[in-house]
């Protein structure tokens, strides 16, 4: 799976993101670092912020295309 594909999915799920990057940590297309700042995260817990990201990527997480997902999120407030 390409980092760019994940980025496109997240762009669609978080259209107002102020910051969005997806890094293929190992160059093997299955270990990714997602960094995302979005107003969608304002006022919700870190747990719920990560839940939103996991939900957006439920399909590739579920079928094993993403083996490892590291997430760094923040709101914009």
């Amino acid at each position: 799976m390409e980092a760019e594909t994940i980025r496109a999915v997240l762009e669609q799920a978080f259209p107002n993101a102020l910051e969005l990057s997806v890094e293929d940590r190992t160059g093997t297309g299955d270990h990714f670092q997602v960094t995302l700042a979005s107003p969608a995260f304002d006022g919700i817990s870190l747990l719920d912020q990560h839940r939103r990201v996991n939900e957006a990527l439920a399909a590739p997480l579920g079928d094993g295309s993403i083996h490892e997902l590291r997430i760094k999120t923040k709101g914009t407030a």
Partner: protein
């Protein structure tokens, strides 16, 4: 014998701090499980670990219970804290220690134990 679902629920509900991980503290099979365990140690947490690797059903049942798709998963007094990233972030911000102080008191034990689930 209790079902897997019941055994997992028991660990989550009854253990002060539960860590569902790949491997055991003696034989950690995943970098992220290692990160979560280290963060819990650093915060002075007692840790009860469950290895999800012996049977894929453990992971499936856990995921259904917690609604969290990835391993590791950390629970404090039955409450899902998150995975390795969140546990590390909460350690760095001091919130993890605070949460543990509130849930378990400041003079808590720091023992580590591994629980093996009975697979039917």
């Amino acid at each position: 014998m209790k079902t897997l679902n019941e055994q997992i629920s028991d660990v989550i509900d009854k253990e002060p701090v539960a860590l569902f991980m790949k491997g055991t503290p003696q034989m950690i099979m995943c970098g992220n499980s290692h990160r979560a365990l280290n963060a819990l140690h650093a915060a002075g947490a007692p840790v009860t670990t469950v290895d999800v690797l012996p049977d894929p059903r453990i992971r499936q049942e856990l995921q259904a219970l917690s609604g969290w798709p990835t391993i590791p998963q950390v629970f404090v007094k039955g409450e899902l804290i998150g995975g390795a990233d969140i546990t590390e972030e909460l350690l760095a911000s001091g919130e993890l220690g605070q949460k543990l102080d509130e849930a378990l008191g400041t003079d808590r034990m720091q023992d580590v134990k591994a629980v093996a689930l009975e697979l039917g």
